[in-house]
Amino acid sequence: MGRITLINTSRPENDMNRVKFENGRIRFDADRLFYKDLNFLLRDVLKEHKPEIISIHNVYGQRYIGTNLRQNVKIEIYGTPGNDLGAFMDGPTIEVFGNAQDGCGNTMNSGEIVVHGSAGDITGFAARGGEIFVKDDVGYRVGIHMKEYQGKKPTLVIGGTAQDFLGEYMAGGTLIVFGLYMSEEQRHRADFIGTGMHGGTIYIRGKVEEHQLGKELGKVEMKDDDWALMEEYAYKYAEHFGYNHKQILNRDFVKLVPLSLRPYGKLYAY
C-alpha cells in the first residue's frame, strides 16, 4: 500500500453550464436545481466575478437564497423563491418577480428585499436591519420579534394587508401596512396585532378595530415626522412597484406603539 490520501466528498460540485455572462450581467438558470447546489454556485460566482447584478431564473421553491452573503450585489429572482429567502442576510438587495414564501428576511441583518407580489408567514422574523417591501399581502406573524439597536433599524413595508399576530413580540423597527387595494370600510385582516410588543412602531393605513389590537400597545396621534416617514416610504414603495405615492397618503394612518418597554414586568411574584 502506497501513500494514502483523504478526499472529503461533502461539498457539491458547481455546474457552470447554468451560468451565462451577458452584457456585464450574470444570468443563472436554477431550474430543478437543489437549493444547496444553487447557493454554493451563487456564492462562488459572486466571490469570483463580483458582479453588481445577477439574475436567477426558474426558481421554484429553493430555500435560503441570499443567506450567508455579505457583499453588495443585486440579485433578481424570477419565479417563487422558497422559504427563508435572505435569512441572516447582510448587505445584498434581492428583488423577487413573483411571490415570496414563508420566512422571507428571517433574522436579516442588513440589505433590501423587494417582493413584486405577496409574502408568506413570519416575513421579517427577528430582522435587525435592512428594508423589506412587499407589494401585496403578507401572511401570519409578520414582523414578529423585529428589533433594533443603535444604528440598526429594520423597516418592513406591506402594500396590502396582513394576517394575525402582526408585529407580535416586536422589539424595534418600523412596520408599515398601507392597506392599498382595500375599500375605506374594509378592515384589515390581522387580529392580535402587536401582542407582546415592547419596542418599535407600527403604522397602519385604513381601518383597524380596537379588538384587533394586542393589549400591550396603544394608538397615538400621527405627528409631522410620522407623516414625513410615511411619505418617504410611500415614495419608495411607489418607485418599486409603479404606484402613485400621493394615493397612499390620502387616507388616515393609525400609529401603534408599545405601552411599556417591560410588558411583563408585573407578571411575577418576587
Binding site: Y35, V59, Y60, G61, R63, G79, T80, P81, G82, N83, G98, N99, Q101, D102, H116, G117, S118, G120, D121, K135, D136, D137, G139, Y140, G160, T161, Q163, D164, F165, L180, Y181, M182, S183, Q186, R189, D191, H211, F241, G242, Y243, Q247, I248
Partner: protein, 388 residues
Amino acid sequence: MENLSRKQNPYNDGKVIDSCGLFGMMSLKGNTFSGEDAMTAIANMNIRGNGLGGGLAAYGIYPDRPDQYALHIMYENGRGREETEAFLKESFEIVFNEEVPHRDSATGVVNPPLVWRYFVNTLGSIKEEDQDDYVVEKVMFINTKIHDTFVFSSGKNMGVFKGVGFPENIGHYFCLEDYQGYLWTAHARFPTNTQAWWGGAHPFSILDWTVVHNGEISSYGTNKNFLEMYGYFCTMFTDTEVMAYAVDLLIRQHHLPIELMAKVLAAPLWSEIDRMPEDEKEVYTALRQVYAGLLLNGPFTVIIAHQGEMIGLGDRIRLRPLVAGLHKDMLYLSSEEAPMRLVCRDLEYSWIPKGGEPIIGRLETNEVIYQDKPVVVGMDKNANTSSA
C-alpha cells in the same frame, strides 16, 4: 394487519409523530388529468418529507366501475392474501379484481408489498343506507384481524396509492401517470422513526374519504378518547387517523355541513365568539360545548377529500402553512406556493387562507368556497387598485 398497533407503533410510543408536505389539486368542472402534475408538485417539496413515506389519492379514476367499492389492499405475504380473499368472498360480490399495476424498475421504493384491487358490491341482503357502514366494518376487520394485510382505500371510483419512499417514487412505482382523475391529493411524510411500512404512509382513508395532514396536534389523547367513546378504535396512533374519524363522525354520522365541521376541529376562540351576534354566539358556544373533545389543538393543516369535494383547513392560529391557488377551473392547495406555480406557470391567483377557515372546492356547484377571500387578486397589478 393482525398486529397493526405493533406494526404502526413499534416502540409503543404515546403516539406516532410525523410531519409533512401536502399538495392537492382539483378540477371544479370534473375534467380529468393524470397524476403527473401532483407528483411533480409534491416532489418539489421533498425537503418537507424524508423519504420514509409518500402517497397519493385520486378521484374519478375508475369511470368504468363507478358503482363498486374499489378496495386497494396490500399484502405482505401470500398467507394474508389467502385469508383476505376467503373473507372477501363471503362478505362481498367481487365483480373484478387484479393486481395494481406497478413498475418493477422503479427506484426509491423500499420493500414493496403486493397490492391488489377488488371492485366489490355488498351482498344483496344489505340495505343501501347500510352499505357504507358494512364496508367500514369489513375494512376494520381486515385491518385489525387478518395477518399481514392492510386496506389502503375502500371508496367508489377512487383509490389511494402509498408506500415507503418519496411520493413521486411511489407514484412512479404505481404508474400514476396512466390514471385520469379530477382530484388528486399527495403527501410527503416526515416520520421521526424509520420503521415505516407501506400501510403507515398517507393518505389515510376510510370509504372514499381521504386525509393528508401536516403537523403534530397536542390534543391527540383527548381526541382519541372522545372518538373511542363513539366506537372508533384508533389503532394507528396518528393525528391523521383521529382526523379521519372525526370527519366521519361529524359528517357521515352527525350530518354536520363541512363548514361547521371545520368550526368544530378549528373552533373559534372564545374572544371571537364573545363578539358574535347573539344567535351565532349560541351556535358556536354549543358546538364547543358538545364537541370540546374534537378541538384539534396545536399545529395542523389538512387536505380532506371525498367524491366531489376537496377541503383545505388549518388550525385556528395557523401554526402550519397552507397556500391556495386558482386557475380557470383548477383549485390548488399546497404547503408551499412554488409547487403550484411549477405545475401551473400562469396561475391566476394565490392566497394565504385564514387559520380555521376552510377552503372547499365543490364539483357539484363548480365553485370554491372560502369566507376570507383575498383582497388582491394574484399577481395582477391592476386588479382592485381602483379602490385605493
